[in-house]
Subunit: 192 residues, 2 copies
């Protein structure tokens, strides 16, 4: 053949790259999971993480952060505790912002209460239950995956993981509200 | 004249609008104060607020929020307390995000400590002093404008005011870091 081998290999690579462009994490639609998801779903835990990504409407650039968020301190020293500190702060700022956006003249006590109600442990554990965290989060044998502190910690870690993955507190706030509203909608349906 | 009066008036209005386009708050450069600033600087307090806007590099769409942030509870029932609750949460999420962005493997205790160091009262009051809050914030006669809780409260209210004015926690985080870095740079200069 007239074409040198190296050039031929480069040409094939070019065609392959053009045919399968990598999807941007932020552009991830709920209906179209990225190629990485199918490739990574090589264990039940991976499959659960992929389903969770779809449920929260956010695709991770660094899937390692998602894994960490769904890992309790009893299971591994590499866990979601540090991410949960960040996630709580992001949830609190999103909640305080929503209270004041709805009423600019809200009193400081109303902002504090609204923030506690939306970002506190009770709401946080409820949202985590609804999104299925107890069946995803990895815990050690003696730890109950459905205990409120475990579920809430994992949910906050998930919110923090989004912030760190995306580099913005607002992206984390968006996911926080999606989880919160999802929980509220399911509660309303259950009450009917 | 052949032109009807209404059309002539509309034409003049069109020319005036084209000649003096209103500047978008987000597009406010540090060197070019918006037309609204000069118009609003009808009191020493207004002039101080306009100077503060330039110093923090953010022009308010709703100047009323800036006024409130620089008003202590001892001065008026319309004050910055509620905004400070929001500002603290935004500062904490920005600080936690920076710690983890610098070291993804940071321990939860390091994230908490880093957040406390950057967003806590000592750093907050120092940043507020450097940006000149004691000479801007409005307090009642018996209240000391340079007291740490007053200065820190006003600084947090300013950060919260940016979040509410802009609708995003990230815009508040940016202003928070600008104030923080400004204070750090001035401390370094003073130490030389």
């Amino acid at each position: 053949m007239a074409t040198p081998p190296l050039a031929a290999v480069l040409l094939v690579l070019l065609v392959v790259c053009a045919a399968f462009p990598s999807s941007h994490p932020l552009a991830l639609g709920l209906e179209s999971p990225p190629a990485a998801e199918a490739a990574a779903a090589s264990s039940p835990f991976d499959a659960a993480l992929a389903a969770l990504e779809k449920r929260i409407g956010y695709g991770f650039r660094s899937p390692g952060l998602l894994r960490r968020s769904m890992t309790h301190a009893s299971y591994s020293r590499e866990n979601g505790r540090a991410l949960a500190v960040l996630g709580l702060a992001c949830a609190q700022s999103a909640a305080a912002l929503r209270v004041l956006a709805a009423d600019r003249d809200a009193a400081a006590s109303a902002v504090s209460r609204g923030t506690r109600d939306a970002a506190g442990e009770a709401a946080c554990a409820a949202a985590g239950q609804r999104v299925g965290i107890p069946s995803i989060v990895r815990v050690a044998g003696g730890t109950k995956a459905s205990a409120a502190p475990v579920v809430c910690g994992a949910l906050r870690a998930l919110v923090g993981a989004v912030a760190l993955d995306n580099g913005t507190a607002d992206a984390a706030g968006e996911v926080f509200w999606r989880l919160h509203d999802l929980a509220a909608a399911e509660s309303a349906t259950a009450a009917m």
